[in-house]
C-alpha cells in the first residue's frame, strides 16, 4: 500500500513538474520572447543533439555548433562523431559532408520551404503564429516551455510538434522536434552568445 502511495506521489510530482501557465503568464512570456527575438541579430552556440528512436537502447548523440545571422541565415555544423554542415540560405540548403559539397534547392517544394522556415525560426524561438500553430504554454522547473503544433495537416505529417524551452531572458535553451511516431530530435544549446559580430564568411559555401 505504501508503495502504491509512493508511486502515486511520484506520478503527481511528475505531472506537476510541467505545469500549464495562466493566460496572463503566457502573454508576458510571449512578449518577452518576441522582444528578445527582435533584438537578436546574431547567435552563436554549441549544441548537443539527441536523436531518440523508441526501439534504440541509447539516443544517438551528435555535437556541433550553430551560427545565426539576421534575417534568416543559419548554419548547423556537426563536429562529432562526424564533420558535416548545412547552411540554410535563401531557398537553398548548402551541404558540406566531410568535404563533399552539394546543395538542395527548395523553391519547387512549398512544403519543404515551410518546414525549413520553421527550423530557422525555432532557433530564435519566435514561432508565435496562431494561424500556423496550436500553441500551449508550460512552466518546466526553472524554464518556460512552449509547444507549437502545426495546424497544416501536410506539415503535421512530418512534425507533430516543436517543444521549445526558454530561460528567464526568453532565450532558447532547448528545441525538441517530435515526429508523428513520437520519436524525436532534442537539441540542447550551451555557450549561447547573442549579438556578437558574425562574419558573412561563416555562411559562404
Amino acid at each position: 500500500m505504501r508503495n502504491i502511495l509512493y508511486i502515486l506521489f511520484l506520478l503527481v510530482a511528475t505531472v506537476h513538474s510541467q505545469e500549464k501557465m495562466t493566460t496572463a503568464e503566457a502573454i508576458i512570456l510571449k512578449e518577452k520572447i518576441k522582444t528578445q527575438a527582435a533584438e537578436t541579430k546574431t547567435i552563436t552556440s554549441d549544441f548537443v543533439q539527441y536523436k531518440h528512436l523508441d526501439f534504440l537502447t541509447n539516443d544517438i548523440v551528435t555535437k556541433g555548433y550553430l551560427a545565426f545571422k539576421m534575417p534568416d541565415l543559419v548554419k548547423w555544423s556537426y563536429v562529432d562523431p562526424f564533420v558535416y554542415s548545412v547552411i540554410f540560405k535563401d531557398e537553398n540548403l548548402y551541404i558540406n559532408d566531410e568535404g563533399q559539397k552539394s546543395d538542395v534547392n527548395l523553391s519547387s517544394s512549398k512544403l519543404f520551404k515551410q518546414l525549413n522556415k520553421m527550423i530557422v525560426n525555432s532557433v530564435k524561438g519566435d514561432m508565435f503564429d496562431d494561424n500556423e500553430f496550436e500553441i500551449s504554454y508550460f512552466i518546466n522547473k526553472k524554464y518556460s516551455e512552449v509547444h507549437f503544433s502545426p495546424i497544416n495537416k501536410k506539415i503535421a505529417k512530418y512534425i507533430k510538434a516543436f517543444h521549445i524551452l526558454f530561460n528567464s531572458n526568453g532565450d532558447v535553451v532547448e528545441i525538441k522536434m517530435i515526429e508523428p511516431s513520437d520519436d524525436y530530435t532534442r537539441i540542447v544549446f550551451s555557450n549561447r552568445v547573442l549579438n556578437k559580430t558574425v562574419s558573412d564568411a561563416v555562411f559562404a559555401h
Partner: protein
C-alpha cells in the same frame, strides 16, 4: 516448359561457373548454416554515417539497425539533423514499411532497398554448396529465391555477393572488422548506378 528448362540449365551453368571462375573447388559441407554476425547483437545499437551515391548524386544521412528479437530487425535512415527518411521492419521473410518520406515512396526504389537490407541483416542461411581456395571459403545460399555467395577469409565474413548467370549483381563488402562488428560496409550495385557506403560512428 522449354523456357523453364533453359533457365534451369543456364542457372546451373552460371552458378557453377562463378566459383570455378574464381578458382574455388567444391567440397562437401559439414556445416548446414551460414552465419552473418554483423547485426546479431540485440544489446547493441548499430549506428552508421551513410553516403548514398545514386546516378552521380550523393546524399548522406544516419543509418541505424537494431536487432529487436531473433530474425527481427529494425532498419532506419535519417538525415544528419534527425528527420526520418525511412523506417523498415524485417521479421523473418516479412517486410514492413513503418515510414517512408513521400518523395521516396517509389516501388522500384523500395524493392531495391528491401532486397539489400534483408541480406544485410539476415543472420542465418542454409548452405547449398561449399567451395574452398587456400584460406578462403565460398558458401552458397538462397535468400527469397536469389542466389548469394558468402565469402570468408580465415573464417571471417568479408563479402556477400548476389550472383546471376555467374556474374555479381550486388556486392556487400565488410571491412575494418573488430569482433562481430563491421565498421565499414559497402553495398555496390553492378547493374544500376547505386552505391551505399556505411561507416560506424558508435
Amino acid at each position: 516448359m522449354r523456357y523453364l528448362l533453359i533457365s534451369i540449365c543456364l542457372c546451373l551453368v552460371g552458378c557453377a561457373s562463378y566459383t570455378k571462375k574464381h578458382g574455388f573447388k567444391e567440397i562437401e559441407s559439414i556445416d548446414k548454416v551460414v552465419y552473418n554476425p554483423y547485426f546479431s547483437d540485440a544489446t547493441k545499437d548499430y549506428v552508421y554515417k551513410a553516403k548514398i551515391e545514386v546516378y552521380n548524386k550523393t546524399f548522406g544521412g544516419i543509418f541505424i539497425v537494431k536487432k529487436i528479437s531473433e530474425a527481427n530487425h529494425r532498419v532506419v535512415f535519417t538525415t544528419e539533423m534527425g528527420s526520418k527518411i525511412f523506417d523498415f521492419s524485417f521479421n523473418h521473410d516479412d517486410f514492413k514499411v513503418n515510414y517512408i518520406l513521400e518523395e521516396m515512396d517509389k516501388k522500384i526504389l523500395l524493392n531495391i532497398l528491401k532486397k539489400d537490407f534483408r541480406v544485410l541483416v539476415r543472420e542465418h542461411g542454409n548452405i547449398l554448396n561449399k567451395s574452398v581456395k587456400e584460406n578462403r571459403t565460398l558458401l552458397e545460399t538462397e535468400i527469397v529465391n536469389k542466389k548469394y555467395f558468402y565469402a570468408f577469409k580465415n573464417d571471417q565474413l568479408n563479402s556477400i555477393s548476389r550472383v546471376k548467370m555467374g556474374k555479381e549483381k550486388v556486392q556487400f563488402i565488410f571491412s575494418d572488422i573488430s569482433a562481430i562488428t563491421a565498421k565499414n560496409i559497402q553495398i555496390l550495385h553492378h547493374n544500376i548506378k547505386l552505391t551505399i557506403k556505411l561507416k560506424s560512428i558508435n
